[in-house]
Amino acid sequence: MFGQFWAPRTLGEPTHIWHNPPVRFLRMKPGHGEVLIAEGDVERAEDEQRLIEEFRRQLDAGLWAAVPVSGRQGRRESIMVRSFEEIPWDADRVIFFPRAAGGR
């Protein structure tokens, strides 16, 4: 899912190469700023399982998850992700932050 790209070879068909950038899970915390809560390579089964469990734990704790991405023309935006499978393949970080609530 993560880090997949096609590297064209000089001759023949493109070769399917797996690139494994580590993905980092960051969580915003009062009085601290962001905290690294998990990091791993999703191409490794044990890392992926750990990341999936951490992802679920954070969402079960009521947090929202977002992935900042670059849009067209250099515009930045974010993608709200509700499941591990929704994380873009090239994401290098997922930011968890407290769920929004109506303020006064």
Binding site: P30, H32, M80, A101, G103
Partner: protein
Amino acid sequence: MLLALAATALVALALLSDLIVPRIDDLWSRYKAHRRRTPTWSYDPGRERRAEARARTLLRSCVNEEEWGMYRDLGFLRVWGTLADGPDDVGGTGGAPYAYLIYPHRPIVAYLAQTHRLLNEYCVTFPDETRPYGSARLPDSDDVLAKWMALTGDERRLIATANMHLPGRQLDPAQVRRDLWRLSQWERARMRQIAGGDGPDRPADRQSAA
């Protein structure tokens, strides 16, 4: 004689038990509470400054150069609205472009981009109930980033979650209009510098965050 005194004392104790027992219970509870170590977090300005510095670094890494410069110089961010007819509760914008101003720990303000007419205030918070240092409040720049991510990621959901108020409930409309004027001046200066080939300016950090 002794027997009579003992019997009298027992009767007196029984009659007074309604008064004595709650008092003893209360004293025991106070004693236990006094001995219990409750975590207390005093406000540490150094810790808060370090947290804010981390939050600013994270914000800077997420938004583009223009948005970062805007926040650094003006103390707020502008995010363009993406809904075709504006937020659901403004009665439609007729397709006119609109945007939001994001202030740290203040309501989000929606306005029409061309006329600067203020549409609504959206009060939204991101309370962390784990209160790691006794407070549920994120650093200023984390609050701005949370709003930015929620708005750019799912504008409709954030607006539906927020409490909507008419302009002026918390933010002085005159102040918001001044901020919009400052923003337009800032953008002109930036465009002049880009046209002049100097690139965007980088004045010293000055945070006018509320």
